[in-house]
Symmetry: C2
Subunit: 120 residues, 2 copies
DNA sequence: TATAGCGGTATACTTTGGTATATCGCGGAT
DNA sequence: ATCCGCGATATACCAAAGTATACCGCTATA
């Protein structure tokens, strides 16, 4: 209830509109966020698996971006008490739900590309 | 027809998925893109109007970002043959249609914020 | 004992993005 | 004549984002 009201409010107020969209934007912007999220959308993965999945990323960036995503509540880091310890990264429920948003972005991107190509 | 196939294809291939979403992301990322698009979503505006709408933007950045958006096919720049010339910026049809995407982002952003606040 | 894989961190550097401040040509109003 | 608003551009600078390269402690395997 309150959720819906605040969404409606945010959509109708230019300032809140920009702020709320920006929140989402901040979660997924940066050179490596999408590749990482993309990798985790299919399955949970370990650090080195993600690294192999995204050949050009350095461990420094992967580490930093995973921390960002964890802080944002996108990713859950699970440490297993094996010897040596193993670590798994997976998307939170909220993280998984961003797939719908990304789908919309993909669709718009492809349509937009077509509409601008046909103009040129 | 072909459109739908390529969207389906893009969604099913991790590499194309990331690339296509990134296309959209590139159009709206940067500190001032959303405020500018937000301003133009409500109505077409002149340079100085946008500037007044976004108090802290410098003319240098406004000029640069408007050029970017124009190049991307988001914004149409119309020069009127008045004396002195007046210039109007408005969203293209494709540009206007990004509102749906932004709405989705807004909704996700608000829900995500609630779900991560309630966890903490 | 040496080597390789895991899950990273440390330091230094370059590149990109954004800011600050000043200025421009034009024309209309005072 | 002078100042103001419009629609910008030029130059210099600063900060954030990303890269390159080396290394760490741990353990299993050869």
């Amino acid at each position: 209830m309150e959720k819906i009201i605040s969404i409606i409010e945010a959509k109708s107020c230019p300032i809140h509109f920009v702020l709320a969209v920006n929140d989402t934007l901040n979660v997924i912007s940066g050179k490596w966020k999408l590749p990482i999220i993309g990798s985790l959308l299919f399955d949970k993965r370990r650090f080195t698996e993600i690294q192999r999945n995204i050949p050009k990323i350095t461990p420094r960036m992967l580490s930093k971006e995973l921390k960002d995503l964890e802080l944002n509540g996108m990713v859950i880091r699970k440490v297993f008490d094996t010897t040596p310890v193993s670590v798994e990264y997976e998307l939170s429920d909220s993280g998984k739900s961003i797939a719908d948003v990304l789908d919309k972005m993909l669709e718009w991107g492809i349509k937009h590309r077509e509409s601008t190509i046909s103009r040129s």
